[in-house]
Symmetry: C2
DNA sequence: TCAAAAGTGTTTCCCATACACCCATGC
DNA sequence: GCATGGGTGTATGGGAAACACTTTTGA
């Protein structure tokens, strides 16, 4: 019998207890459930990047796809499954993992009916390292670009187009980018991309925004919005400290409060 | 063997075909997948209402819950399952059905691990009728209210509090209302609530907004926003026609374009 | 002393809000 | 004619965008 708060509550009758003990979880045919992760980051050259996996087995063998895998029933939530898969394939922990959408077209996987819960992960700039690939998969970080046919994914020597991706993963990636772009206008998602830094300058944050939005921003106005939305609200604090460079910039720190708002 | 575009494409090798034919969909233990629907509408007295089902069987027998049910594997997407369940329990078709969030805590159902994809349905004002209940369930339309403990649900003679609902359904309902409130500020969701009307006056739409937002709006400013966002953009057209009442109001019509934007 | 990046100040314009006021109709 | 809701006009304030200008440093 399963262990749960409901069962331990002691509010249930003998009749209900008997029902739950004799319940057959397999009375209906079930679809499979997977977690797929759109893993986004920014590289040292300030380009938006994504982690893709080259599939070692069928179906779509040899095609690039989103990292992900099957949910282990009774043991984890889909969010935990996404975190587990991401850790196994990148070694990254303590990462932003936000649910994007659930895809459930019966034909999206040729093996069987697979319901896929997609997540967006935001990895701090420069921290994403790829694990050595084994037989089952090979991972690579791709720079996201655009051409007439839609998205492109580039890494040294290799160019992949969105039409080449496995399953409906191109659709998922496009939705993730679109959602992230609209979210950073009013949510602190972008801070995840420099969460590894003890302190940061306004211009570093601005570059993150420019990379995500794919457009140049006015520094003066960006600063005003930053001060108003984060410093004046106490979610970021100014340090009495400056960095290097031409004219050293004031450095800032995220507070506990901001970390909570980011989850 | 499954039928899908991928298989029919003719791009697959004999080896891959053999793999797919011998693939065992049950090699991993699977969770169940359900679609739950937060069915919202506005009644004749302009109150925000929700459809709830009284559970006839265990678990949570006798408790009120969201309508919903198990996904039929290999046959339908979760969205189709949500539409099917809603139709079976209310007879309503042609309804707004928007995916809300996927809940997957392993303990949220005492029977087994159930992954639930929640949807929000918006039913045109005054069209929601409840089907006669059988042994398995009994449906009722509740007026949504608020008190110190959170949401309340009222119908003739009955008052249900959010803490009394089955499963984690109170959490789902709160998320649905929150999301709807933020969405109607920039999306045409509210038009679903008078989609049954051939023509409508601005004040009718305003009442829908006030009901959803639970606050009074300024008619003059509401009109300006309506004209700018919908009439000037050609998504709603003014008819040369007026309704009844004190001073008959100009009537408007939704266009095909708006219907598309609403999906 | 000059270039580059940090940081400040100002001007302009748009648009949301508030609210005063006029209009059409039923009773 | 007067109450009721429909509809128009206008004044105001806040904030976003554009951009000119100053400051601080390294070379």
């Amino acid at each position: 019998m399963r262990d749960s708060e409901y069962l331990r509550s002691g509010q249930i009758s003998a009749e209900e207890k008997a029902f739950l003990e004799s319940y057959d979880p397999d009375r209906y045919k079930k679809p499979s459930v997977t977690a797929d992760v759109v893993t986004l980051t920014v590289n040292a050259s300030d380009e938006l990047c994504i982690l893709l996996i080259k599939r070692g087995g069928y179906p779509y063998r040899g095609k690039w796809a989103l990292p992900g895998g099957f949910l282990m029933a009774d043991e984890e939530s889909v969010t935990q499954a996404a975190a587990r898969e991401l850790f196994e394939e990148t070694g990254v922990k303590d990462v932003s993992l936000r649910q994007l959408y659930t895809f459930s077209d019966p034909d999206r996987d040729p093996r069987m009916h697979v319901v896929s819960v997609a997540y967006t992960a935001l990895i701090p700039k420069g921290t994403l390292k790829v694990q050595a690939g084994d037989d089952a998969w090979e991972a690579e970080i791709f720079i996201i670009g655009y051409d007439v046919d839609g998205l492109t994914f580039q890494t040294e020597g290799t160019m992949v187009r969105e039409a080449d991706l496995a399953f409906d993963h191109a659709k998922i990636i496009k939705m993730a980018i679109k959602r992230l772009r609209s979210r950073i206008k009013y949510e602190p998602d972008a801070f995840w991309l420099l969460k590894n830094k003890k302190e940061f300058a306004i211009s570093e944050l601005k570059v993150i925004y420019e990379t995500i939005l794919n457009e140049k921003l006015d520094l003066a106005n960006f600063r005003k919005a930053f001060l108003r939305d984060y410093v004046d609200t106490g979610r970021v604090v100014a340090l009495n400290k400056k960095g290097g460079g031409r004219r050293p910039a004031m450095l800032y720190n995220m507070t506990e409060e901001l970390q909570e708002d980011m989850d």
